[in-house]
């Protein structure tokens, strides 16, 4: 069970990068960008193909990020230059990505085994080795063997890498949106007319934001592929909904009072989502039902304000009637 939770945390942190990317478009730019369903797979595909060719896994991640930037650029150009609605632009790029991803991979699935004859080195391998070495030196107490098992587990090292990466990316994001350029992008999501009146090209801001978002999503895909030990053409399906679910869970649990808090909320949301999924799976839900479960969760979360409002109205109406009756009787 501990291992399952650990795995959920690790996977959640890696998906947290993707959630951050979704946040850039969905919350900051106020655009629902479906490109991510394609670019997350592109990231995984590029990382897989490069890693299996023996290229440094971190370099592969960087290349995945670059590919994501390009994916975002395509959507941004469709939207800003060809005036195609943002949602449709995203769908077009996502669809195109499917073919491109297959071209990159050459087949529907590339395994990234960590053991066996054709094992590969991922970003997690050195950390895993280090942990094993550290534990090996102190491994003289049998009573704490379960503890050492955890430290030596793949999930633990993945979690460490996940924590490191999400912190670095969150710090960079925090810095970026405090700069002049970052402020201009935030304003673009608020009020494009005002932004143009300040001499800022909203077109350029949309392009930059969509690129960064998809860059992060592809980077996330690269890490996820290494964690799950394969890249698959299907891995992006439903990812936007997972990203939104994580984003909303984080906002509800941690809040959005300040940007710092919001960034923490994104990571926490992604982790909590993964833990929930791990728990319902452990409770016996079929893996095939997961997407339905996620979609229903997101629907509920998105309609929460409306439901709350309706409930409040009913309650206040009842209270009002009660007050009137009380007055008459009094």
């Amino acid at each position: 069970m501990v291992n399952i939770i650990l795995g959920a945390i690790a996977l959640g942190l890696l998906w947290g990068i993707m959630t951050l990317g979704v946040h850039l478009t969905y919350r900051i730019l106020d655009v629902a960008d479906l490109t991510v369903e394609g670019t997350i797979t592109t990231g995984g595909a590029i990382a897989a193909i490069m890693i299996t060719s023996g290229i440094n896994p971190w370099l592969s991640c960087l290349a995945a990020l670059g590919a994501g930037l390009i994916g975002g650029l395509v959507t941004a150009l469709l939207h800003t230059k060809l005036k195609i609605p943002a949602l449709l632009s995203g769908i077009l790029t996502m669809t195109a990505c499917y073919s491109i991803n297959l071209r990159i991979m050459g087949k529907a699935n590339i395994p990234l085994p960590s053991t066996g004859s054709n094992k590969v080195e991922t970003v997690f391998t050195p950390v895993h080795e280090l942990m094993k070495k550290l534990v090996g030196e102190y491994d003289d107490s049998a009573s704490a063997a379960w503890f050492y098992d955890i430290i030596c587990s793949k999930n633990f090292s993945a979690m460490l890498v996940g924590i490191l990466v999400i912190i670095v990316i969150s710090v960079i994001t925090y810095w970026f949106f405090g700069t002049e350029l970052g402020c201009a992008i935030r304003a673009t999501g608020n009020n494009q007319k005002m932004v143009r009146a300040q001499g800022i090209s909203t077109t350029l801001m949309i392009i930059i934001c969509l690129m960064l978002s998809n860059g992060l999503v592809a980077l996330s895909g690269a890490f996820i592929a290494q964690y799950q030990a394969y890249a698959d053409i299907q891995m992006g399906i439903g990812s936007i909904v997972i990203g939104l679910a994580s984003l909303i869970i984080g906002e509800v649990l941690i809040g959005t009072k300040t940007f710092k808090r919001n960034l923490v909320a994104l990571a926490v949301g992604a982790v909590v989502y993964r833990i929930i999924i791990a728990l319902v799976m452990a409770a016996g839900m079929a893996a095939n039902d997961l997407k339905l479960f996620t979609a229903i969760t997101v629907t509920l979360c998105l309609s929460l304000p409306l439901i709350k409002d309706k409930l409040n109205k009913i309650v206040s109406k009842r209270n009002g009637e009660a007050a009137v009756t009380a007055e008459k009787e009094g």
């Binding site: 402020c183 005002m194 932004v195």
Partner: protein, 265 residues
Amino acid sequence: MLKMIDIHKTFNAGTVNEKKALNGLNLTLEKGDFVAVIGGNGAGKSTMLNALSGVWPVDKGEIIVDGVNITKKVEHQRAPYLGRVFQDPMMGTAANMEIQENLALALRRGQKRTLRWGITEKERREYKELLATLDLGLENRMTTKVGLLSGGQRQALTLLMATLRQPKILLLDEHTAALDPKTAAKVLELSDKIISDNGLTALMVTHNMKDAIKHGNRLIMMNNGQIIFDVKGEEKKNLTVNSLLQKFTEISGSEFANDRMLLSE
């Protein structure tokens, strides 16, 4: 300071909804001119400001600001020359951003956005002083999200933003129309003060004839996308609402029609 030469703009050309909004408009502003713009429904008042700010390209004509031909420039490229305040108080500010962040965006109007920090400590102190001059208590709410401010507060802030970096021309597009009479009077007074303190050149569209007579050194009246009446100085000071309405009937040969004007008088 400004020359608009033979400006034409037709909306929905070739359809049943075709509307000739600007019809050979000519306007020249001297430096320091504060011009009140009045006119009936669809006279082309706001359209003139939009043509000037580059919301869309004009069909014909040239726009020259301070010797620079800006006709071909798009909206954001014209921003260095123009400070703008809109009719809708929501339009001039970014609602989800702090008061100080909005000011910082405006301070950099027309400048390249770099990776330098978006707002400096020195700026913050300046903003605090400037906000204090508005007398709305905003200087103590620098980190409040602008969306939480009232319409009047937002318009006052937008006015401050539009003039934070001195514009060649300040464009006020019915900027008090959406406010209650008391707030409107306050914002108008503030506009007057900012314009005279900084010696700005300004175009103010208004639906209120009394305001148009009271404020500015010049008044122009528009009809059918052209300027039909242009007075300044002493002659303007002696205008009354009645004489203006009479003038309109005289020149245009029709009754003055402006829904909001009837309601507001």
